[in-house]
């Protein structure tokens, strides 16, 4: 029973990690390798706002999310715009930016137990005999709400529709007056904000160190590859596959082998279905 409940929680956390990454990739074809760095950056910003400005967590968390969006926007406008259209250069630039952020944070001495964020909600409940703390339930609630909101956003708002237009065909989108640079920058900003949001919700559950940033990036990539990029149901299913895979590994084989699961999932999926579980044929052509 506890495997099932914690499996669900792990899966939702993975989905939260991956949602920003796969959204940005889906819209503008940008693989944002700075995703994990932005995740940690959000934690760092909100920690600093709390400890140096004395803001309550409820105020510092949204500010951190906004700051993340701003950093994402700046990365696009300042760096990526100059190499737009060369996928590998884009990748190297975001990767370098991400590693630079993480290394700067490590250099500032940003690791250890003293850095942790408080939980939003205290206490816990018992579900079918398994103790679950309230923050983990909040994570699930946020994850579900986020998926629903994003669905509504991309289907019923103007910017959301512009995002989808860009994703489907950039040239046609241009011809109907959608500014592709602007939308690209917004998509990166939105993806970064989602990384920040995931951070302020998930980070209170554990330690905050810059090395976590690399892990977040790994999980986001694993979910994105397994699920098939730009496919929202694929992303959700993939995070459940990997999340449950990890929980089952942890319970029956040993927690230290958990990290193998994403790699095994990637290799299996690439061998059997190179376009991912829910990928479309167009992606197959891109990948192979």
């Amino acid at each position: 029973m506890s495997t099932i409940i914690y499996g669900i929680i792990t899966s939702v956390i993975l989905a939260l990690y991956a949602v920003g990454f796969s959204l940005t990739y889906g819209i503008s074809g940008l693989a944002n390798f700075a995703h994990g760095a932005l995740y940690i950056l959000a934690g760092y910003i909100s920690w600093n706002l709390m400890n140096y400005l004395g803001l309550p967590f409820l105020a510092s968390a949204p500010l951190a999310v906004v700051a993340c969006a701003l950093v994402g926007f700046i990365i696009y406008w300042g760096l990526l715009l100059r190499v737009r259209g060369i996928p590998l250069s884009e990748l190297v630039v975001t990767f370098a930016a991400g590693v630079a952020i993480l290394e700067l944070l490590t250099w500032r001495g940003f690791y250890g137990i003293s850095y942790s964020l408080p939980v939003f909600v205290e206490g816990g409940v018992e579900i079918w005999g398994v103790a679950v703390d309230a923050q983990r339930l909040l994570v699930i609630a946020v994850g579900v709400a986020l998926v629903v909101l994003l669905y509504l956003f991309v289907h019923y708002t103007k910017i959301g529709l512009a995002f989808r237009g860009m994703a489907q065909n950039e040239r046609t989108a241009l011809s109907v007056g959608i500014e592709s640079d602007w939308i690209g920058a917004l998509s990166l900003a939105l993806g970064s904000a989602l990384a920040g949001l995931a951070a302020v919700v998930v980070l209170p559950l554990g330690m905050m160190e810059s090395s976590v940033g690399y892990e977040v990036l790994i999980y986001a990539l694993a979910v994105a590859i397994v699920g098939g990029l730009e496919s929202t149901p694929g992303m959700v299913v993939a995070s459940f596959v990997i999340g449950f895979g990890q929980r089952i590994t942890a319970s029956y084989i040993g927690p230290k082998w958990m990290i193998i699961v994403p790699l095994a999932a990637i290799v299996l999926v690439l061998a059997v279905r190179p376009s991912g579980l829910f990928g479309k044929f167009k992606e197959l052509e891109e990948r192979v």
Partner: protein, 338 residues
């Protein structure tokens, strides 16, 4: 001063010796021979003589530059056939651990262990990456980014291969000079070997895979086999670098999978100019001494490599080497636009 309506432009002309083709030179006079040989012979001679004039510390820097140069060359070879790697530290680390195992468990002598680690490292890397060789660009990069991190986690978590403590090996080079010259000579050999290779028919196919893999497939060539072969060569080169450092420091730990060895070669190749090999070599010879000079920055070093990487990708996309090459082969003069 020029009157404002007179426009000046830069006029570039290829030197006569180079005008016919890109690579074949028409040599007619001793001056031409010097012109062609100087850029090749001078760096070689300089690198071979340099250790005599350097202190032990600076020799160490030179060796480290050669090791990073080997990694950058192996990155460049992979990039030549369209495999974009973000994890040179994987190849490096596998080689380093293979050498560690050869010494620690099997007690092989260095002259057997080093070549064996080189080849087995290349073989392991190509077997590991063979299933994902079908992936292109970003996807291949993602997988190579993850593998070294995962290896590190596995070694950390499972305690295999010495776990967090690493393996202390006993075999080492007979003396400093052997190590220094082995590093430099292998580096130069790989540099010129790869330049030769990429100009041969075999290298032409590799480059064609990068440019248009469908066309190569339709010519009846198995591109996956070719990519695996390139992986083996590149993996062996980087494994040699790893094994070499293991024997030199008589130690191997999971720090070989660290970012230094993934970012530094990439930054070196990007700075020097990818696709030319000489660029990667030049880049590492610039970047490693520079980073030694910046050693005082401590933890900021990796961040500074990232900065170099970003600046060179954005501002100097062709790289230093291509720039120098162009300047060397062309006359330039300012002429009035009429």
């Amino acid at each position: 001063m020029q009157p404002p309506d007179v426009k000046i432009r830069r006029k570039r002309l290829d030197r006569g010796i180079k005008a016919r083709t890109d690579s074949v030179f028409v040599i007619a006079a001793p001056g031409d021979i010097i012109y062609v040989l100087a850029p090749r012979v001078l760096p070689v001679v300089a690198l071979l003589i340099l250790p005599f004039f350097l202190s032990e510390y600076h020799q160490e820097v030179l060796v480290h530059a050669s090791v990073v140069g080997l990694l950058a060359l192996s990155w460049d070879l992979l990039a030549c056939c369209g495999l974009f790697s973000l994890g040179q530290s994987l190849f490096f680390g596998v080689g380093a651990y293979m050498a560690g195992m050869m010494d620690y468990y099997l007690h092989l002598s260095i002259w057997i262990g080093l070549p064996l680690a080189t080849l087995s490292g290349g073989a392991i890397c190509s077997i590991l990456l063979a299933p994902v060789v079908r992936l292109k660009g970003v996807y291949f990069a993602m997988v190579t980014l993850m593998l070294p991190l995962l290896f590190r986690k596995i070694i950390e978590a499972s305690g295999l291969l010495g776990g967090t403590l690493g393996l202390s090996t006993r075999g080492s080079f007979p003396n400093e000079w052997v190590a220094v010259y082995l590093g430099i000579i292998v580096f130069l050999g790989v540099l010129f070997g790869l330049r030769k290779l990429i100009d041969s028919d075999y290298g032409l196919v590799l480059k064609a895979i990068r440019d248009d893999d469908r066309a190569v497939m339709s010519a009846g060539i198995n591109i996956y086999a070719r990519k695996v072969q390139a992986l083996f060569v590149a993996g062996s080169i980087a494994s040699f670098a790893g094994a070499f450092l293991t024997y030199r420091y008589e130690f191997v730990g999971f720090s070989v999978f660290a970012w230094d060895y993934a970012i530094l070669p990439l930054a070196a190749a990007a700075l020097g100019g990818p696709g030319t090999f000489a660029g990667a070599a030049l880049g590492s010879m610039i970047l490693v001494p520079l980073s030694e000079a910046l050693r005082a920055m401590g933890g900021l070093r990796i961040a500074s490599y990232c900065l170099v990487l970003m600046v060179s990708i954005i501002a100097l996309p062709e790289g230093i080497f291509s720039f120098l090459e162009r300047k060397y082969h062309q006359f330039e003069s300012l002429v009035e636009v009429k």
